[in-house]
């Protein structure tokens, strides 16, 4: 693992976003019954020690089942939640210690596209107000905002004449374009796309994905692209991180991950992707039993232990949490059996 803060200072290979040991716990709140019984408050370990690099102009796909902490991780990186522990560096600058004012400045560089194009646009505000809000906050003069919003609408494939409309006058795909325009208004370098197409019809999904790719090429964006849909993830990502119960279990370039998945969870995920034209070829379908353990007081060792189907699994797996180890260049996996640390 390359982790040399000293070597930072503008060196080109330095990642745009560098996350180290990030933890995000949410208190469950202790009731008076808990206090009476001498129990402390309990915590949901939504994100539990994540290391992640996102490079300039790259798309890092983040995949995992619902509730595994994908969205929480993304929101914590943007400091929409205050992280419990860990470090987030953006272009070499530590975000976790910034004040709210300084953070507001930084938001010019990092924006977010939301999952639900209906909930993420305020029904009582016009397109101009919605897309222009980041500009207003960054101090763009009001007179320029309208012109800039019209340009942005054109850029995302909407008509500038729609600038005075309200969200309910648009279709789902159009609304998502408005959300994208909002995220790009301040020319960010890093955009978190939290399941940007999962609420859309399949025919619209392709359009939006292509738009995101075009914009990436045009504006030099880096994406953290979250999805539970492996087909979507494989289509857009340069590298893919697989998340399970608050941790990254495998991280590899997209082709590598699909060609030779190493972690048992990844293997199960990929075996579940339906493939067209693979008739005749018998593919092993791995069925996982049970459901993931609860993120409240998660297991001490490997979090996948309870569902792991490897013959090699043993007491080490149950008691010692595996680190994310590089097994081949660029391919990291958190599994004792694969990394040979049993």
């Amino acid at each position: 693992m390359r982790w040399t803060p000293m070597a930072a200072a503008g060196a080109p290979p330095e990642p745009l976003v560098q996350v180290r040991g990030l933890k995000q716990y949410f208190p469950l709140g202790s009731t008076w019954v808990d206090r009476l019984l001498g129990r402390g408050s309990r915590w949901v370990h939504a994100v539990d020690g994540v290391d992640l690099d996102i490079h300039h102009r790259e798309t890092l796909g983040l995949v995992g089942e619902s509730g595994c902490g994908k969205s929480t991780l993304a929101r914590t990186i943007l400091r929409l939640y205050e992280p419990t522990a860990g470090s987030i560096k953006f272009a070499g600058r530590e975000l976790t210690t910034l004040s709210q004012m300084e953070m507001r400045q930084m938001r010019r560089e990092m924006q977010m596209i939301f999952q639900d194009p209906f909930a993420s646009l305020n029904p009582r505000r016009t397109v101009e107000q919605i897309v222009g809000l980041p500009l207003l906050i960054q101090g763009v003069p009001r007179a320029d905002i309208r012109r800039r919003v019209a340009e942005l609408l054109e850029k995302v494939g909407l008509s500038p004449s729609h600038i005075d409309r309200y969200p309910h006058q648009f279709s789902g795909g159009q609304r998502q374009r408005i959300g994208i325009a909002r995220a790009l208004a301040v020319n960010p370098r890093f955009v978190v796309a939290d399941e940007p197409v999962s609420a859309l019809d399949v025919s619209i999904q392709a359009q939006i994905l292509r738009l995101l790719q075009d914009l990436q090429a045009e504006m030099g964006l880096a994406y953290l692209f979250i999805s539970h849909d492996l087909a979507v993830i494989s289509y857009v990502s340069d590298r893919i991180a697989v998340m399970y119960l608050g941790r990254i279990v495998e991280l590899a370039p997209a082709e590598t991950l699909f060609a030779e998945p190493l972690h048992p969870y990844t293997r199960a995920l990929i075996s579940a992707v339906p493939r067209v034209g693979s008739r005749g070829q018998v593919r092993e379908r791995i069925l996982l039993s049970g459901s993931p353990p609860t993120p409240i007081d998660p297991p001490k060792g490997c979090r996948f232990y309870s569902r792991c189907f490897l013959k090699e699994k043993n007491e080490t797996c149950r008691l010692v949490a595996p680190d994310l180890k590089e097994v081949t260049p660029g391919h990291r996996v958190a599994c004792h059996a694969v990394a040979g640390t049993l």
Partner: protein, 308 residues
């Protein structure tokens, strides 16, 4: 699909005219839904009529409402024996024209209703926004104050406050505001609790919007329709309270005509001259009923979710 949208340019349309058109469109939309409810339209008409009565009182009242005439005491309404068109609803114990007094009395009721609701809504909405948005201790504090105020019977609290401050118009407004802000506060707090979990609030935060912007620009417009509905319905209640306080001699002071004090005065002569108290009483009834019908119509037209 979106990319193929034709560009309809509207050159020469200025910002002001744009906003005006937008407002007109949503107003027409609202009217279409509102007019389906016949009773609400009737209620709205009654309210407009009462407002017009209050505003135009100096021109439409046939007599001076405070002019006593001892030769014309206890004249009955026009349809009874001894009545005349000069005093269509009769005269009171001092010979004053009852119709004129009812017309002028609308002023007291409407002014108190409007001022109390205006102040109470401003205070209540602000408190509700703060309470719901920040939550935690701020919320707990504000809601305990609300609970304390709610535990007092309304009229008893108002009478107590008036006893301390003394009777009179501005003291009555204060005494009513003292508790009236609680209702919009509760309503807004509940709505804010739901609204602040919406993704658009998170989206605003993600682009760097501050608390003030989120509260007033993102959340408030989404709770405004329930505020309007609650404010309208509460006007009726405040008018009743004003009448009650005036009935008890704590509100509008004589000789200024007010419906409540007219009912109080008529009480003494109920067996000899029933019209003294009955007509102002009917005025209260019709006004309150009209406002309530209007308020319920507004509720259905503005926010179908509220109709329980």
């Amino acid at each position: 699909m979106a990319a193929a949208m034709p560009v309809r340019q509207q050159p020469g349309v200025t910002g002001g005219r744009r906003a005006w058109r937008r407002g007109l469109a949503s107003l027409l939309d609202f009217w279409r839904r509102f007019r389906k409810n016949r009773l609400a339209v009737v209620g709205g008409a009654v309210v407009l009529l009462v407002i017009a009565m209050g505003v135009l009182a100096p021109w439409i009242a046939p007599h001076d409402p405070t002019q006593a005439d001892f030769f014309r005491r206890f004249r009955p309404p026009v349809w009874m024996e001894g009545g005349s068109w000069e005093h269509p609803l009769g005269t009171d114990q001092l010979g004053r024209d009852i119709l004129s007094r009812i017309i002028w009395g609308a002023r007291a009721s409407l002014t108190v209703g409007a001022i109390v609701i205006l102040i109470a809504t401003t205070v209540g909405v602000s408190m509700g926004l703060i309470s719901g948005y920040y939550g935690g201790r701020v919320d707990a504090f504000i809601q305990r104050v609300v609970d304390v105020l709610l535990s007092f019977p309304y009229l008893v609290l108002a009478i107590g406050l008036m006893a301390v401050m003394g009777p009179g118009f501005s003291n009555m407004v204060l005494a009513l505001v003292y508790k009236e802000w609680v209702t919009p506060c509760r309503v807004v707090r509940g709505e804010v609790l739901a609204a602040k979990r919406q993704e658009y609030v998170e989206a605003a935060r993600a682009v760097g919007a501050g608390d003030a912007h989120i509260m007033w620009r993102e959340i408030l417009p989404n709770v405004l329709s329930s505020v309007i509905v609650v404010a309208t319905l509460r006007v009726a209640w405040v008018i009743l309270m004003e009448a009650s306080l005036s009935f008890l001699g704590l509100g509008v002071q004589p000789p200024t005509p007010a419906w409540g004090s007219m009912v109080a005065a008529g009480r003494e002569y109920i067996f000899q001259a029933w019209w003294l108290g009955t007509f102002p009483g009917l005025a209260i009834l019709v006004t309150v009923l009209g406002i309530n019908l209007l308020g319920e119509g507004l509720r259905d037209a503005l926010d179908p979710r509220l109709g329980e």
